[in-house]
């Protein structure tokens, strides 16, 4: 995966996102019934493929949880979409920036 700069990229996750990251990790683990503890998910590892190994069915499931919990409807045609699932950190940043509840 290329390391190009993006608007979402931040040098270090802001301190107040750490709590959100843990919260989102908890939601993912609960929604998908994963066999990992929320605290064990590497916040920088990809959610697809080699990292947590999620597939597209899981991503739909997460999208539903995100819409219910934070009032965000994810869109595949938005520029950020490919970035959102690059890691838990990206997902939490996106939620922090777009949440309506």
């Amino acid at each position: 995966m290329s390391d190009k700069a993006s608007p979402l990229r931040q040098p270090a996750p802001p301190a107040d996102n750490a709590a959100l990251q843990r919260e989102v990790a908890g939601l993912i683990v609960a929604a998908l019934n994963l066999d990992v503890a929320a605290a064990d998910i590497d916040v920088q590892a990809p959610l697809y493929g080699d990292g947590l190994g999620l597939d597209s069915i899981d991503i739909l499931e997460i999208a539903l949880v995100v819409s219910k919990q934070y009032g965000i409807q994810l869109r595949a045609d938005s520029e950020e979409n490919e970035q959102i699932f690059r890691s838990l950190a990206y997902l939490a940043d996106y939620i922090a920036a777009h949440r309506t509840k």
């Binding site: 929604a31 998908l32 994963l34 066999d35 080699d50 597209s56 069915i57 409807q73 994810l74 869109r75």
Partner: protein, 435 residues
């Protein structure tokens, strides 16, 4: 109108000109892996291949192992792609820019494709680890979707627009978006919306009457979201059985009619039902079912040859049946079918794996989405979970990745080398407790 791309209409004349243009640009090889993501480009590529007397290969997944097996089946296969990032390890041909073709006059008279022309091979996972090819001739594909068009009520003189959440490469998407539109005077939308908000905007971008071609997974997510859909005349669902409750909710919530399709990769679709109203399936005209022992066989109509169905079917009338689930060895996740035997073969073929076995986790224990998942136990003392996961990902589709993959010291095989189901589940339960 034949298609819409981002709301822009594409006419049948444009399509025919595009088809002839692409047909002339194809290499001299006979077998095509049509990997085009855009549904319009896929359809142009498929038709161009047909015109150029080439055969499309439609495997259910494009993992490196499946691609390797495809080259053994058809050594001259090339990949036609519209994605610059495509990494399929075959000679790759980029789908040409169509701007030039747009001004060309459509060919006249139109090209006739004879009925017995071999149009495509679809593949099912064999029990030995080698995918089994199944022939699809043009005439039978056409017969099948013409019956479907009639069944769905698309031949009422109005032009419908089809929006699909399923890829055109999958047998269901191939029949019920691409071929169905071509053979019923309907149009399809070129995109493949994924999230509920995408589905809503894709539908809103095309004219009514609209039809959504989707799956239980997408429909469940759609209902769970607060997304509002434009007027929707018909919803089609396939790939996994839909519960009567979910079907009723869809019909009520979107003031629509939902029909479910039953079929298989080998036979294509063979039956429909209005799930909110009945549990009984009605066969397509000309198709017959008969029981033999535990198995049910389909034949007649558009079915190419007598085919054993991979489900437990109870025949209730000459043209009706009930579906009671899958035969034990088969796994169907989100419309991708495999067998435990195939998955086991792939697992055990990985260097370093001493023994290993997949098993099915029931939906209630696997995930809240109601999707079946598979898990596996493996004896591989020299491999890490990451190494094994990576090796497996090259061989099998992501939906079949074991969740979890449990490392054990040995498998509880009995004297004959078999793995009793109960022992396997007990071992898995114990291993899961340890983690």
């Amino acid at each position: 109108m034949l298609a819409y791309r981002a709301g822009v209409p594409l006419r049948a004349g444009n399509f025919l000109a595009d088809v002839m243009y692409v047909a002339a640009a194809l290499p001299e090889r006979r077998h095509v892996l049509n990997a085009c993501v855009d549904r319009y480009r896929f359809t142009v590529a498929f038709a161009a291949s047909l015109v150029a007397n080439k055969v499309s290969l439609l495997p259910s997944t494009h993992t490196p192992e499946v691609i390797r097996q495809l080259t053994q089946f058809a050594p001259d296969v090339f990949c036609l792609t519209d994605d610059a990032r495509c990494q399929i390890d075959l000679p790759r041909v980029r789908f040409p820019e169509l701007a030039a073709a747009a001004n060309a006059p459509p060919p006249w008279p139109p090209v006739e494709i004879e009925k017995n022309r071999l149009a495509a091979y679809v593949f099912t996972s064999g029990s030995t680890g080698t995918p089994l090819p199944h022939q699809k001739t043009w005439g039978r594909l056409v017969n099948c979707v013409r019956i479907e068009a009639q069944r769905l009520g698309l031949l009422d003189g109005r032009s419908h627009t089809l929006v699909g959440t399923v890829p055109p490469q999958h047998m269901y998407g191939f029949e019920s978006t691409v071929l169905l539109a071509l053979q019923s005077g309907s149009a399809f939308s070129a995109g493949r919306p994924f999230y509920p908000a995408d589905i809503s905007s894709e539908l809103a971008a095309v004219p009514a009457p609209r039809m959504l071609v989707s799956t239980p997974v997408h429909l469940r997510t759609l209902l769970g979201s607060d997304v509002v859909l434009p007027e929707l005349e018909l919803v089609l669902s396939a790939t996994a059985p839909l519960s009567q409750n979910l079907a009723r909710e869809v019909e009520e919530h979107y003031a629509t009619r939902l029909l479910e399709i039953y079929g298989s990769t080998e036979t294509g679709q063979i039956a429909t039902r209005r799930t909110a109203q009945t549990v009984e399936w009605r066969l397509f005209d000309g198709v017959r079912l008969f029981a033999q022992g535990e198995s049910a066989f389909a034949e007649g109509g558009h079915v190419e040859q007598r085919t054993s169905m991979c489900d437990v079917l109870q025949i209730t009338a000459a043209d009706r049946f009930l579906l009671h689930g899958r035969l034990s060895d088969l796994v169907n996740i989100a419309g991708k079918r495999s067998s435990l035997a195939y998955l086991n073969h792939q697992l055990n073929a990985i260097p370093g794996v001493v023994d290993g076995a997949f098993f099915v986790r029931e939906p209630e224990e696997a995930s809240s989405s109601g999707v079946t998942r598979v898990a596996a136990v493996v004896v591989a003392p020299g491999l890490s979970a990451a190494e094994l996961g990576e090796a497996l990902r090259r061989r099998i589709d992501p939906v079949f990745m074991p969740r979890p993959l449990l490392f054990v010291d040995c498998l509880p095989r009995n004297d004959t080398g078999k793995l009793p189901h109960d022992s396997l589940r007990a071992l898995a339960a114990a291993a899961m407790k340890r983690t």
